[in-house]
Symmetry: C2
Subunit: 336 residues, 2 copies
Amino acid sequence: MAEKRIGRRTIEFASPPAVAGFASVVCKKEGEGPLSGTFDIISSDPLFGEKTWEKAESRMQKTAFMKALEKAALSRTGIDVIFGGDLLNQCIGTGFSVREFGVPFMGLYGACSTMAEGLISAAMAIDGGFAVNAAAITSSHFCTAERQYRFPLEYGGQRTPTAQWTATAAGAVILSEKPGRAVLTKAAIGRIVDLEIRDANNMGAAMAPAAYDTLSALFEDTGTCPSDYDLIITGDLATVGTRILRDMFKADGVDITSHHDDCGMMLFDGTQDVHAGASGCGCSAAVLCGYILRSLEERLLKKVIFAGTGALLSPTSMQQGESIPGICHAVCIEAR
Amino acid sequence: MAEKRIGRRTIEFASPPAVAGFASVVCKKEGEGPLSGTFDIISSDPLFGEKTWEKAESRMQKTAFMKALEKAALSRTGIDVIFGGDLLNQCIGTGFSVREFGVPFMGLYGACSTMAEGLISAAMAIDGGFAVNAAAITSSHFCTAERQYRFPLEYGGQRTPTAQWTATAAGAVILSEKPGRAVLTKAAIGRIVDLEIRDANNMGAAMAPAAYDTLSALFEDTGTCPSDYDLIITGDLATVGTRILRDMFKADGVDITSHHDDCGMMLFDGTQDVHAGASGCGCSAAVLCGYILRSLEERLLKKVIFAGTGALLSPTSMQQGESIPGICHAVCIEAR
C-alpha cells in the first residue's frame, strides 16, 4: 500500500495543504437565494459583459480566480499549476479562462464533481512536493448548459419535477503548503457507479449511489461515522438524490440525515422554482467557496466532508440509450 | 520552490515511477502504416463489435487497458487510480470504458495531449505516495471525431492540405512504484499558448507554439539541449506544426531537427492520403504504447522526451470566432 493511503480508498495528506484563498462569483438568481451573503461577487448581468453565454462563463470563472488570488495575496506567477474544467464540450469555459494567465494547466473532466476533483489534484500536487501553490477552478452557466444538454433557451421546454437547475456560478480555491485556517486532511477518489438510471432529467438518482460508494469507503477506511463530522455536504444530489443517499445509508443502519446537507438543496430555496434543486459544476463550487470555507475560517464548522458528485453522461450517450454513470470525489476539510 | 521542482516549470520525480505495462489498440488504416509491427492489437472492424462509433471507441480503450494490465501481470484491483480522457463531448469514450472496472478514476481533458497529461498525473500520484500503481488511458476514433468536430461522415467533405487525420487508436500505460525497464524522470506541465490561429483545419500551427513553450522551459530548467536526448517526440503536430516548431527553435539558434520526430508524422506514411498527418488522443498514445516504449524497453532508445500536444478548441468556440488555444505537456522517459 502507498505510504499516504489508509484502507482501500482513502488518501491521508502528510502535510495537509491549506486554503490560501477562495472566491465565488454567481449571477442574479443565485444571489437571491439563501446563501446570498456568502458570495464574493453577484452579477446582475448573465452575459458578464460578453457577447456569448460561453464567453460569459469564461469571464465569470476568470473573475473568481482573480478574486481568489487577491484574497490569497498572491500573483498569477505564484501559482504553480491550475486544475480546472467545466461542463461545456471540450471544457472551453475553462480553456478560454485559463488562456490569459500563463500558468501551467491540467484540464479535468468530472462534470459537477470537478471542484472536488480539482481540490484533490491540487492537494496531491502540493503534498507530493510538486507545487507550493495550486488552484482548483470551475464554473457552470444556466444558458450554456441548457442549450448544450437540453433545448434551445427560446423553446421554453417544460421541466420535470426531478429536474435540477444549472447554477450560473464559478468558484476558485487556492491551496498552499503554507499554513492556513482550513486544511485538506484526507480524500477519497471516486469510482464510477452506474445503477442503470436512464432519465437525464433525474441526475440526482444517477449520482446518489456514487456518493454512497465514496462516503462509505471514507467512513470505513478512517474508522469514522457521520457524527464525527460537523457537516457532510454532497454536491449536487438535490432533493431526489439526497433522499436516495440517506435511504442507502439507512439500509446499513447508518443515519447521516442529521449531519448531511447538499449543495443542490442549499443554493436556492423553495420559492425559486428550481424543481429538485441546483446542479452544475458551479453549484458545489460556489457553495464551497462561499458558505463552507467561510464557515470553516470562522470556525462555525470544524470538520467537513465535501463530496462533489458528477453525472458522466452526454447528449450523445443518452440518444444511444446508455444509462448515466455517476462519480463522487470526497475531501475532508478541517479548521485549524 | 517545491522540493521536487527544478527551475521555473520542471518537476523531478524523487523515485521515478516505472512503466509496468503498456498496450496499444489500433484499427486497419493505422495497422497498415509504418508502425504496424509495434501495436498489440490491430482490429479490422472499426466498430469493434459494437453498434455505435462511440461505443466502439470505449471498447477499444477498454481493450487497451485490459491488455496493459495483462502485460503488467496485475489485476484491476491492483490499480489505485486511473487517469484518462478523450476528445468526445463529456469524455464519454473514457467514462463508459472505465465504468466497468470499479477503479478510482480522475477524468482529464487535454485534447490530444491527454496521454502526456495522464502520465504526469499518474507519476505524481505514485511519486507523491498516493498510489502504488496508476494508469493513464486515452483513445480517439476517426468516425466519432469527424462527425463531432467536422461533418457527417456521409457528407464526404473535402479536406484541406493542412488537415490531420484523427487516428482510430487507444493506448494504456500502467505506472508503478516498483522498478521497471523504463522510468519517468522529469515532467513539465504545459501552459496554454494561443497565437491567434483561427483555422480549425490547421491544428498543427495552433499547437506548435505550445510545444515550443514547454520544451524550451524543460531544456532551460534542466540545463539540457536537444542532443542530450535520443528522441524528442511531439504528438501530434504533423508536417505543418513540425515545420513551425523547428523554425521557432532555429530562431533561437537551436537545431532540434536531428533529434526530433512527431507522432502525427510517424503513424501514417505518404501513401495513406492523410494530408498533414495524424491527430487525435489515440495518435500519440498508440505511438507511445507501441514504438516508443518498446524501443525504451529494448534499449534502442535510452532517453526520450514525450511531448503531447493538444488543441483546446470546440466547434462552438470556432463558430463564435475564437482562436485555438494550444497546450503541450512533456515527460522525460529513460531506459534503466
